[in-house]
């Protein structure tokens, strides 16, 4: 078994009076693509935001690369080597594509070789380099958001529902990009609702329901077991047939 890069143990998160995460246990192995599945409202986004420190865990441990990061502030967690792409993408629309990426390069100027690597799977970014990000299409904004997250080497990339509302061609482009990112030694934790998109991409999978992990294991195991898919993801599967 590969050594875990991120481990959540008994994590609880409250948002106001709501108890969203109710003891999440999740292991993300180093160097692979882990997928977090679940229906709407299961707690997937809250899990990512809790890892990033945007919502503080009220109990439990979040171990990242040997350190407990629960309770740390978001900038410190980012500086520890975690990049985050939210569901909304959150590109800075008043800034150009270049400026969006330049801001994410904390350690100095943009690395030309790395940029060329990114342009290899997102050529649209080179084309729209000096255009305001707000003028781009949804798929192109998603490319900006992912490129911004990996413009410098990071240990872990958290991505929240990257394919939502995008055309199939763009989704295939994103899948190729995630494979490239994995080849470049970045671990990926991908939240997704569409099982068909990630079943060939993920190495491991966890399924959430009602703020808990209800299944975890190799992706191949879930992909090869229709009955288990139906049991865990019935409605989600139907929605994406």
């Amino acid at each position: 078994m590969t050594e875990p890069l991120l481990t959540l143990s008994g994590v609880h998160t409250h948002i106001g009076e709501y108890h969203i995460l109710q003891g999440v246990d999740l292991v993300v192995p180093r160097g692979g693509i882990s997928v977090l599945l679940g229906r709407n409202g299961a707690g997937k986004t809250t899990t990512l935001r809790t890892i990033m420190g945007m919502w503080q865990a009220s109990a439990g441990q979040v171990m990242f690369d040997g350190q407990d990061i629960a309770g740390r502030k978001t900038p410190d967690i980012a500086r520890a080597g975690i990049a985050y792409v939210p569901e909304s993408m959150a590109v800075f629309s008043d800034l150009t594509v270049r400026e969006n990426l330049y801001l994410a390069a904390r350690n100095g100027p943009l690395d030309t070789a790395r940029l060329e690597w990114i342009f290899g799977f997102f050529p649209a970014l080179k084309k729209f380099w000096n255009y305001p990000a707000g003028n781009l299409s949804g798929g192109q904004k998603q490319m900006v958001a992912i490129a911004r997250a990996i413009v410098e080497p990071r240990k872990l990339l958290l991505v929240d529902e990257p394919t939502k509302g995008l055309a199939p061609a763009i989704i295939r482009n994103l899948i190729d990009a995630f494979r490239e990112v994995k080849e470049n030694f970045t671990t990926v934790l991908l939240v997704e609702q569409n099982f068909n998109v990630v079943k060939t991409l993920g190495d491991t999978v966890a399924v959430m329901d009602d703020g808990r992990i209800v299944h975890a294991g190799p992706m191949a195991e879930l992909a090869g077991d229709s009955a288990l898919q139906q049991q865990l993801l019935g409605l989600s599967l139907d929605a994406h047939q």
């Binding site: 990033m52 945007m54 502030k73 978001t74 900038p75 980012a78 500086r79 985050y84 939210p86 959150a90 800075f92 629309s93 008043d94 800034l95 400026e99 330049y102 801001l103 994410a104 904390r106 050529p123 649209a124 084309k127 729209f128 255009y131 305001p132 003028n135 781009l136 299409s137 798929g139 192109q140 911004r148 055309a167 061609a169 763009i170 482009n173």
Partner: protein, 329 residues
Amino acid sequence: MNDTALPAVQRDLAPHLLVPALVLAMLPLVGSFPTWVTLTVAGLAMGMMIFIMASGLTLVFGLMNVLNFGHGAFVSVGAFAATLVLLPMHGWMEADSLLLNLGALGLAIVVAMAVTALLGWAFERVIIMPVYGQHLKQILITMGGMIVAEQLIGVIWGPEQIALPLPTTLRGAIIVGDAAIEKYRLVAVVVGLLVYLGMFLTLNRTKVGLLIRAGVENGEMVEALGYRIRRLFVAVFAVGSALAGLGGVMWGLYKETLSAAMGSEVMVMVFVTVIIGGLGSVSGCFTGALLMALVANYAGFLAPKLALVSNIVLMMAVLLWRPAGLARK
């Protein structure tokens, strides 16, 4: 791969064209060219001073989502802090030398901005920080802060108005053709343009500026990129306060008298400017300030009774056209 054609870069020129359009449209209405020149320069000068006072507030609104009704305190404190330099250096102020006049004025501005930046830093730490995200409390506590500041000015400098005459070489007017243009108004225009240029370059050409613009749009994402936005908040608040202090010095010299309430008196104009411009937009604030001052000046000449409500009418018109302000389509 999505291989669509290059999207056109949308340049929103309409707000920038409003000021020249207004100025040109007023020429036939005013009738006399020299009068039009005088009114226009007076409006531009007043607009620049309002912009200097309002620019910090718009960034504080946009970046920190803070309703600082105490911003006027920094205007008053800046003006009074300048007297710490200008009154003892009255010899330089009254000398018939532009160099000595500007030397005293420059030193006063540095002191005023340093004092208000320091006060802004303390104000953010003590008064603003406990009420982040609570707008009603922000309004109450910052208004309270302004009242306390005004009373403290009265305690330190006394309750009477203080005369603050212009330096000798900046008094009077220069005559261009048949138009009289007050020298100090030209200074105000130059200072306002320099402040705008400085802010424009900072916001567009530096990483700190990009962080501020990004923070105005989505502070949480800026933090997720690894930047401590709280530190940026404090720095922006202090710089915004310092700009209000600079505006206070300029406004005090324009009026040639200082009172503790001068800050709260200009706050209506400052808030209208920030709203017209669009919260968080420096270029919108710049255009908004110029528009408001020019409209007030022209209205004061053409229809004096209308001048009383010109600010509000302008704000209504702009918000009907662009509900989020000039800079936000």
